[in-house]
Amino acid sequence: MTTEPIIRVEHLAKRFGTFEAVKDVSFTVNRGDVFGFLGPNGAGKSTTIRCLLSLIRPDAGKVELFGKSYANERSAILANIGSIIEKPDFYRYLSAERNLEIFARISGANVGKKEIAEMLDFVGLGDRGKHKVKGFSHGMKQRLGIAQTLLHQPELIILDEPTTGLDPQGIVEIRNLILRLRTEQNKTVVLSSHQLSEIELIANRMVIINKGKTIVEGAVQDLLDANDLQVRIETDDAGAAKSVIVAAYPTTDVTQLNARELEFPVHKDQVHLINQLLVNAGIPVHAIEPKRKLEDYFMNIISSEHVA
C-alpha cells in the first residue's frame, strides 16, 4: 500500500450562523485506504464530508483532493469521486436504470447501457433495473447508491453513514460490498460512521472527531495496540480481589461491578500477572474477559472529551 495522500484536510472550520459545526478538523487519506471517519452524532462528520464534496464552502482551512483544490479544479476532482451522502436519494418516479443513466450522463465518463446493467448486477439489483425506485426498500436504495458511485469508475468513494437504517442483513451486504470495492476494484474508500464496530471491521486507517475537532488519527491497528485493555474478572469474592489488585497496582482504577465481578484497565502484557497475583492470594479466578474492541476506546475518548 502506498502512502500517497489522496485527501488532505487541514484545520477545516465551518459555521452556520452562530453554530460552529466544524472547528478544527485535519486528516489525511492515502491512496488505497479504507478510511474510517468516526464521531458521535453531531460531531461534524457530515459537514466535513460535504466540504470534501464541495456541497458546503468551508469558512477556513484547506481541502485538497488528488492534490487539487475546488477553487479552480472542481469538475476534475468530482469526476474522480463517487459518493453517497447520508442516504441515497433518487428520482422516485424513475426506474433504477433511468436513475443511473441520469447520473452517468453527467459523471464525466462514457457509461453505456451495458455498464449500467453490469453495475446493477454487481450490487445485486440486476433483476430490478426496470422497476421504479419508489418501490425500493432502504437497503435496495443503498445498493443502488453504491452502483451510482461506481458507475464512472472513480478513484475515491466517499460513503456517509452507509449502513444507517439498514437491517442486520443489509448491513452485512453493504459491508461486503465495501470490502469488495477495496479488494476487487482497489478503490480508496472514506467511510463515515458513528458505529466503531463498523469501522473496526473494514477500515485500515481512521480519524475520530468530536465537537467539530479532530481527536485522534492513525492506523486502526496502531490505535488498538497502543492502548490498554479493559478487563472484566469474575471471582468468588470481588471485594477481596479488588484489595489485592489495588495493593499491587495502587494507580489502577478498579471498578467493582457486583459481588463477583470487577472491571479495570490494564496493559495486555499484565493480564497474566494479575491472574497469577489473585491465584497466589487464594482467590480463584473463574473468568478473565479482555474487551479489546475499538468501541471501548472510542467511548473512552468521547467520554473523556465530554469531561474535558
Binding site: 452556520f16 460535504r50 464534496l53 464541495s54 456541497l55 458546503i56 464552502r57 472542481r74 469538475s75 476534475a76 476532482i77 468530482l78 469526476a79 469521486i81 459518493s83 451522502i85 447520508e86 442516504k87 441515497p88 436519494d89 433518487f90 428520482y91 422516485r92 418516479y93 424513475l94 433511468r98 441520469i102 447520473f103 450522463r105 453527467i106 459523471s107 464525466g108 451510482q148
Partner: protein
C-alpha cells in the same frame, strides 16, 4: 455537460406526473371555453358589441375560430403562470426536498450549468405549454368555428382585423406571451434556488404575480413610476399585436423589460445556487 444535463432535465420533467397536470388542466379549460362558445357564443359576443348595436349592425362571421382563440388566450393567460410555476418552481427546490440535489451537486458539472440547464428545460416546458395552448386555441377553434375577421375590444374601442391579417398577429402574440411566461418560469426557478421545498416557490411566484398585478391595476399615482418596470404590466403585451396600428414601441419596451427580468432572475438564481451550502 450543459446539454447533457438539459437532456436529463427534460427526462425528469417528462416523467413527473405534475408536468401533465398543467397540460391536462389547460386542455380541459380550453375544452370548456370552446364548448361554452359553441353553446352560447353569440351572447358572449353581444356583451362586447351591445352598446354599438343600438346604432350599428355587425354583419359577417363574427363568432369564428380566430376570435375564440383570442378569447381563450385572453382568459387563460392569467392562469397559465400557475401551471408553469407548478413545474418550474419544483426544478431546484424539488431536488432539495427529494435529496437528489446532493447527488447532482457532487457530479462534475458546475452549479451554473445546473441552473442554466434547469432554466432551458423550464423554458422548453413553457414553450410546450404555449404551443399546446396555441394548438388547441387556434386549430381546434378554427376546425370547429371556421375562420374570419377578428373583433378585438381594446380600451380605446373595437378593432376589426381582417382574416388575412390575423395569423401573424397570433404568431407574434404567442412569442411575446411565451416571453412573459418565461419570466414567470425564471422567477419561480430563482425563488426555487432559495427554497428547500417546491410549495414555497410556487406559492411565492403566484403571490408576486398577484401583488404586482394589483399594484399595476391600481389607478394610484404613487405607483405610476414603478408600473412600467413590473413584469406583470407586460404580461398582456401579446395583446398589443391585436391593435391597429400595432404599437411597436410599446411592444419593444415590453420585450426589453421582460428579457431584462429573465436575465436578472436567472443571474440571481445562479449566484444564489453557487453560494448555497447544500445541507439538505
Amino acid at each position: 455537460m450543459l446539454l447533457k444535463n438539459t437532456w436529463n432535465e427534460f427526462i425528469k420533467i417528462l416523467s413527473k406526473p405534475r408536468s401533465y397536470l398543467g397540460v391536462g388542466a389547460l386542455t380541459l379549460l380550453i375544452g370548456i371555453i370552446i364548448f361554452a362558445m359553441k353553446a352560447d357564443g353569440k351572447s358572449i359576443i353581444s356583451f362586447v358589441t351591445a352598446s354599438f348595436e343600438q346604432t350599428l349592425t355587425f354583419n359577417g362571421h363574427i363568432l369564428n375560430g380566430y376570435l375564440i382563440a383570442f378569447i381563450i388566450l385572453q382568459m387563460l393567460i392569467v392562469h397559465v403562470p400557475l401551471l408553469v410555476a407548478l413545474v418550474t418552481g419544483d426544478l431546484i427546490a424539488g431536488e432539495a426536498a427529494m435529496g437528489t440535489i446532493r447527488m447532482l451537486a457532487t457530479k462534475p458539472i458546475s452549479r451554473t450549468n445546473i441552473v442554466l440547464s434547469k432554466f432551458i428545460a423550464g423554458a422548453a416546458y413553457t414553450l410546450f405549454i404555449i404551443i399546446w395552448m396555441g394548438f388547441l386555441a387556434l386549430f381546434v377553434s378554427t376546425a370547429l368555428f371556421g375562420t374570419g375577421d377578428v373583433i378585438v375590444l381594446n380600451s380605446d374601442g373595437l378593432v376589426i382585423l381582417p382574416e388575412a391579417d390575423v395569423l401573424w398577429r397570433f404568431g407574434a402574440g404567442f412569442c411575446v406571451a411565451f416571453l412573459s411566461l418565461l419570466t414567470v418560469s425564471s422567477l419561480s426557478i430563482c425563488l426555487s434556488a432559495f427554497a428547500e421545498n417546491s410549495i414555497g416557490p410556487i406559492v411565492a411566484t403566484m403571490s408576486v404575480i398577484i401583488l404586482f398585478t394589483i399594484i399595476g391595476s391600481l389607478d394610484v399615482t404613487v405607483f405610476d413610476s414603478i408600473k412600467p418596470y413590473l413584469f406583470t404590466t407586460h404580461m398582456v403585451s401579446w395583446r398589443s399585436f391585436f391593435e391597429d396600428p400595432v404599437p411597436w414601441s410599446t411592444i419593444r419596451q415590453s420585450v426589453i423589460i421582460l428579457v431584462a427580468h429573465n436575465v436578472v432572475l436567472v443571474a440571481i438564481a445562479i449566484v444564489r445556487f453557487n453560494k448555497k451550502d447544500i445541507t439538505s
